[in-house]
């Protein structure tokens, strides 16, 4: 490896089993995470008569269809069947399962890191586009489709063409209540929802170095919303501290040895990126989406764009989005009445997210109904130990079990048609949270502010006088 290698180059070459003449690489997969949605892949495997090549590197988790209430008697037979099918496939192939009632159950992108299954230098695949989350540890992590899931199960490898490298460098100090979610929505609004298509994004700069692991995961998670299949951050002391003592992480001498190899997982000083983007952290405000694509986002003190003043390409999409969202152009986004809130998802339901929301909600009453679904059973337990659940419940919000829940609605947690939801999730697509649902993406702190005011609101004034 030359001294001009990017983190992407290093991770790629460490996993390349073979490179074909057409440029496609056959890559070794260190960790394969499967969930209920993987049923198509297991069916393909069965049809082809293959087994699972490396069950010891494969982990299954119930999350997409996990009921957040009434787990003992699942009413919907389709949901029960999906969970049952995963349990059967895991048992048949000798794959460890984090089942519905496992004390370590949770959303796949929350429990991977939590359990120490996610480590620097690994190649991690999962049949879910938010697999980019795990790149926060300096891993090569990307989402794959069902045919690819079947391929990884059968061979423990994946064919992939190396993406181009993009660096998003964020420097400076973030303002109060400005979070990783806001950094992400900011660059996606700037570059577009296909702005990083065909690229792996490496986040660097002083702001990124100061982020916690939870925040780094949020940032890498949202890479796909800007079109990047991969997001990554070079591991450092913050990463290593997070990993130590996790159940599946190496320990003792094995950890020392691992740390030696992880130290080199960084972009060399002379390395050149295909695209370089610089962002000033101080200029980022709490950000919310107004439309039906994650790039349709503006600062909380901004106004809903007037399509007549947008570029031709964006104008039609903006008109259609405003129509769907039931919003008028030119008006301030703050003050828009909402019907409900949702705090959850692989993007923003880790302990830090719940803490910041609870800090805003403490002693307050929500003006609208809402639901809080922690990222994992362990996050739920931790939050309950800290008394956060009491703050949410006292405010009038529902405190429920962990799963993908209302981010994607597969478990029946849906937003009604025409209802407006302030949501800590990742996609404001039409119908994502339910047919006709109107989703506004924002940070957990901003979701809390929306709950208290019943409108899309700036959280910053609400935080005055409250302990940081």
């Amino acid at each position: 490896m030359s001294a001009h290698a990017t983190l992407l180059d290093k991770l790629w070459s460490a996993h390349e089993v073979y490179r074909a003449e057409d440029g496609a690489s056959l890559l070794w997969v260190d960790r394969h995470l499967v969930h209920e949605g993987s049923h198509h892949a297991f069916a393909k495997l069965k049809a082809r008569g293959f087994g699972v090549a490396n069950p010891e590197l494969t982990f299954a988790v119930v999350d997409h269809y996990a009921p957040t209430r009434g787990r003992d008697a699942i009413a919907d037979p389709n949901i029960a069947r999906m969970i049952n099918t995963l349990e059967q496939n895991a048992a048949q192939h000798g794959i460890q399962l984090f089942g519905l009632n496992d004390p370590n159950q949770g959303i796949v992108h929350v429990i991977g890191p939590e359990q120490g299954l996610t480590l620097p230098g690994l190649l991690i695949n999962c049949g879910d586009s938010h697999t980019s989350t795990h790149g926060a540890f300096g891993a090569l992590a990307f989402g794959i489709g069902a045919t690819e899931v079947a391929h990884v199960l059968a061979t423990q490898t994946i064919w992939q063409k190396k993406p181009k490298a993009m660096r998003i460098k964020v420097d400076g100090i973030l303002g109060p209540a400005v979070t990783a979610k806001d950094i992400a929505l900011n660059w996606i609004a700037w570059l577009g929802s296909d702005g990083a298509r065909g690229h792996a994004v490496e986040y660097s700069g002083s702001t990124i170095r100061d982020l916690s692991m939870e925040a780094r995961m949020t940032l890498c998670n949202l890479s796909i919303e800007g079109g990047a299949r991969f997001g990554m951050i070079a591991p450092d002391e913050t990463t290593f501290e997070y990993i130590k003592g996790r159940p599946f992480a190496p320990q003792g001498a094995a950890l020392d040895r691992a740390m030696q190899s992880w130290g080199d997982l960084k972009t060399d000083g002379e390395a050149v990126f295909d695209h370089d983007v610089a962002i000033d952290a101080a200029k980022i405000a709490p950000t919310v989406t107004w439309g039906t694509s994650p790039d349709q986002a503006i600062p909380i003190n901004g106004s809903i764009p007037n399509p007549d003043f947008l570029k031709a390409g964006r104008a039609d999409a903006a008109r259609a989005a405003l129509d769907y969202m039931g919003l008028a152009p030119g008006r301030p986004i703050a003050g828009t009445p909402i019907d409900q809130v949702f705090l959850g998802s692989c993007t923003n339901a880790r302990i830090e997210d719940l803490r910041v929301a609870a800090q805003v909600l403490s002693g307050q009453t929500a003006k609208v109904p809402g639901m809080v679904s922690p990222g994992s059973a362990l996050v739920k337990q931790q939050a309950e130990q800290e008394g956060l659940d009491q703050i949410f419940v006292s405010a009038g919000l529902d405190w429920v079990a962990s799963g993908c829940s209302m981010c994607v609605g597969m478990n029946g947690d849906l937003v009604g048609a025409g209802k407006r939801c302030a949501s800590s999730t990742n996609r404001n697509f039409r119908g994502r949270q339910g047919r006709g649902a109107r989703t506004h993406l924002m940070s957990p702190a901003m979701v809390a502010a929306a709950a208290i005011t019943g409108t899309i609101a700036d959280v910053r004034p609400l935080l005055k006088g409250r302990a940081a």
């Binding site: 089993v17 059968a154 992480a249 697509f429």
Partner: protein, 203 residues
């Protein structure tokens, strides 16, 4: 999977940007097994009113025989759900023409014999314009990378490896079996050099 070189069929315009996978197939249909076909789920909520009746004004409802879709940019962005491709394929679609595609969608498409053909912004706009009145007969040639609609002949971009895969109808698992010994050697070396990759054995 059957390979193909030339496809001739009806081309239809869906002049929308960001037709994401949640719109291509809403999540609530994804628990269904594939056997019965996913064609009914394609763009389900866009094509129907709140009561589930087909909207006669929606382009795809006027000509359900279309096998070539000309669409706006960032088609198939979002989730990794291969069900979005199943819905298209089961509805008889063989090629989608767009200025850009979601990366995961494009891989999934090729794995199911569906062509994600990339054209320039200008060509994409010209095609949408040409098809704005009504669907037209069209043909796609994988070998030459050309799309013919009426008098228009447009070059599309397609990754070389994907072109070969589509033409031959190759399945990656078959292809990978040829590299079985490389994989075994790699696995052994990895286990030796980075034993920490294998999760803690006590669990």
């Amino acid at each position: 999977m059957e390979g193909w070189r030339i496809h001739t069929g009806t081309a239809l315009a869906l002049p929308f940007d960001n037709l994401d996978t949640d719109q291509l197939i809403p999540a609530r249909f994804m628990s269904q097994p594939r056997d019965a076909g996913y064609d009914d789920f394609l763009l389900y909520d866009m094509r129907r009113d709140a009561h589930g009746n087909l909207d006669p004004g929606f382009p795809l409802n006027c000509d359900s025989q279309a096998s070539i879709l000309v669409v706006g940019r960032n088609f198939g962005s979002g989730s990794s759900r291969e069900a979005a491709v199943y819905a298209l394929v089961d509805a008889g679609v063989r090629a989608v023409i767009a200025p850009s595609f979601g990366d995961i969608f494009a891989s999934n498409a090729v794995n199911n014999g569906l062509l994600p053909a990339r054209v320039s912004d200008a060509d994409g706009a010209a095609l949408l314009m040409a098809l704005s009145g009504k669907p037209e007969s069209a043909s796609v040639d994988l070998e030459t990378g050309r799309l013919m609609i009426g008098t228009m002949s447009i070059q599309f971009a397609l990754d070389g490896a994907w072109r070969i895969k589509l033409i031959n109808g190759w399945d990656d698992i078959d292809l990978t079996q040829r590299h079985q010994s490389d994989i075994q050697t790699f696995s052994k070396t990895r286990r030796h050099n980075a034993p920490w990759v294998w999760p803690h054995e006590t669990h």
